[in-house]
Amino acid sequence: MWQIIQTASPQLIKAGLKYTIPIALIAFAIGLAIALVTALIRLSSKRGGFLAIKVLFRFYVWVFRSTPLLVQLFIVYFGLPYLKIRGLSPHGIQLDPVVAGILTFSLNTGAYCSETIRASILSIDQGQWEAAYSIGMTRTMALFRIILPQAIRISLPPLANSFISLVKDTSLAASITIVEMFEVSQQIAAQNYQPLVMYMLVAVYYAVFCTVLTWLQGYLEKVTSRYIVAK
């Protein structure tokens, strides 16, 4: 057993550093940006032509929340090559697996996080917007300087949930030919026929990364709550 761990670990760590962690970090960063934009558009009270954009973003959230991530990856990687548009993409759209992965993971986590952010913005007292407007702030300014700093406190744990889920969902990248950490563990298990041991080992490496994220969450919760007086 000790020997299995010793031989497997370098391969796992390498795959983790090369794919799992970078994909998770980049996809979450992009996903957060998408989520913020989506939440704001969905919360906007604008009407008229803007309604079409709102419907579009609502549709986006619905599609990416409602269908399995694996299917999304499949369609982006294996399905888009069939999308042969004359002139634009005569051979279909062939994405590099890592690009396809990051794209899909970002869109997926963005859909989930947009709901979290939307809820947290809604939970801030209306008076805060009004006070911000009153000192002449625009909507954007009020949002970034007054509302979000308060909303972030409430949305941290569910956002951390999404991030941590994403870290583990990167294992699905194997289905689009990316040899990430979990895939490596399965490949090794296929040789040594010790899947239980291999799974436990890879779980430890996921846990290490997720623990760092949990710490970060706790730290940010503390920072963003420093203005709350404990009773």
């Binding site: 030919t177 040899v179 399965q186 490949q187 296929a190 239980l196």
Partner: protein, 248 residues
């Protein structure tokens, strides 16, 4: 199970090694025609028929439990199945952990490339190339041994897509898989070559048993031998593979 005695010519006593009395519980994926697959929702295939036949001869009921590849191995270890019939190739490393039956299929390999590919002429050319292979399959092990890098690809159909589109350079796969695929699908844009026994010895496909179930293994081997002798095995092979591939 109350500690298996040393295995011997005496084949009795294997019943005590069964997970469920009067039942032979068989793990398989059910996603690999023609070994095991669903036809109109019902499990069928060479290994399914083989399992049923052996069970019947032992006076047992065959119960098939479909699951994922890793779960087959883990499940055998923790006593969820009596045996696994899932196109499993014997390797020395695996033998350390589990028992194998005598082989019931000798599966030839085929090298598939895109028609326009010129960089892979002979088998050794795959060295350093990207080969699309299913995780856990012995195809992947062979490809790796030849020095290729592996692109994991679960489905045979998408594996061919990858090769056709040039996103993978080639794939080494079982000849039977390709032949089955070809029956109902065209392989436009692809070319293939069956590997000779000198290039790559055929995979020895065998049933898998838990280390402690030595009596069961012996009994299975005994039945297999008889099936081979009375031509049943050959009949099954012709039915599913179109030819007899049960001998070396």
């Amino acid at each position: 199970a109350c500690g298996a005695k040393q295995s011997s010519a005496n084949n009795g006593g294997y019943q005590s090694e069964l997970k469920q009395s009067k039942t032979l519980t068989i793990g398989l994926e059910g996603t690999y025609p023609p070994y095991s697959y669903r036809k109109n929702g019902k499990l069928t295939g060479f290994e399914v028929d083989l399992g049923k036949t052996v069970a019947k001869r032992l006076g047992l009921k065959a119960q098939f439990v479909p699951t994922k590849w890793d779960s087959l191995v883990a499940g055998l270890g923790s006593g969820k199945f009596d045996t696994v019939l899932n196109n499993i190739t014997q390797t020395p490393e695996r033998k350390k952990q589990y028992l194998f039956s005598t082989p019931y299929v000798y599966s030839k390999y085929v090298l598939i490339t895109a028609k326009k590919n010129t960089s892979i002429q002979k088998l050794s050319d795959v060295k350093g190339k990207k080969l699309a292979e299913g995780t856990g399959t012995d195809n992947a092990i062979v490809a790796k041994k030849l020095g290729a890098t592996i692109s994991p690809s679960g489905e045979f159909a998408t594996t061919l897509d990858l090769v056709r589109e040039g996103r993978a350079d080639a794939t080494i796969n079982a000849e039977s898989a390709l032949l089955t695929y070809k029956k109902s699908n065209d392989i436009q844009g692809l070319k293939y070559r069956v590997l000779t026994n000198q290039e790559q010895a055929p995979a020895k496909i065998s049933a898998l048993f838990n280390q402690k179930d030595q009596k069961l293994q012996a009994k299975f081997n005994q039945e297999l031998k008889q099936l081979r002798q009375d031509g049943t095995l050959k009949k099954l092979s012709v039915k599913y593979f179109g030819s007899d591939i049960t001998t070396e």
